[in-house]
Symmetry: C2
Subunit: 153 residues, 2 copies
Amino acid sequence: MTKKAPLTIERGALEPAACTCASLRRAARAVTQVYDEALRPSGLKATQFSLLATLARRGDQPLTRLAEALVMDRTTLTRNLKPLVGKGWVGVAQDGDQRVRRIALTHAGQEALERALPLWRDAQSRLVGRLGAKRWSGLLDDLKITVDAVRGG
Amino acid sequence: MTKKAPLTIERGALEPAACTCASLRRAARAVTQVYDEALRPSGLKATQFSLLATLARRGDQPLTRLAEALVMDRTTLTRNLKPLVGKGWVGVAQDGDQRVRRIALTHAGQEALERALPLWRDAQSRLVGRLGAKRWSGLLDDLKITVDAVRGG
DNA sequence: AGCTAAAGAGTGCATATACACGTTATGACC
DNA sequence: GGTCATAACGTGTATATGCACTCTTTAGCT
């Protein structure tokens, strides 16, 4: 019956140096730079690649629904779409409901995505390789669980 | 000798839906909103809290060194400091070397940090509680390893 | 001293992010 | 059929992020 079953949170977890938010943002910064650089020849940033890929996977969608899928503020998505619409990669169409803006991948957008795909795969496989498949998949699971934890309630 | 020891990366890892960068950014968005809301009464955003906490922990420091510690672009740090300097929470001092700007936490900054600390602890302990201490500490480790993986070479 | 490479830093530009607020269109209810 | 809550959306404002470029200062070399 020496130390066991911690009722309290583990040592150090409540020191700012262990801030979950800061750690996530730091990792996001570091990894984003790598993906952005890898994608540079395609003219896409990592965020934009994910946006196009999500559209390709899920099809046309109202803006708000797309924002929810991306766990992104609706107004952030509105602005993130702007450069993509400007390049003709994404189209915005009216819906039966006049309030709704349907977001769609254009043909040019599909092509841009296909051009970027091998570049993305290079970056992704490099990173997965360095982390190891096991740690990588654990990380992805944990990130998903974290998102659910702060949203699900 | 049925399926074993995958020489290739695991199934699905090279599909955009499994993008490491997008997953990190998504989790960072979700968690940042929680911390930002918790910190709101203090007038600090999560990013700013971490910046002040880092300064408190490491002491005065040249801008570039601080940026490296935060795994943040130097020019990003310059701009992130602006609102904190404006509020008198951070001071910028000359160094013997005229090129160097030493960044320091002011007394008011120390107080702001102390006011924010219990708010941060609430948010942090809530999240650690929801994830469970084990998963949380694994996540933090993995994030650190990820940063090292993309920077260390 | 003078030249030069490199270090430290700021600015212009573009994107990413979200809250507060206002606008328009729907749908429900009386 | 008018009233009103709500849903969907855009904009203003502020911060966060980083690349390309430029400027100043320092250190090193001759």
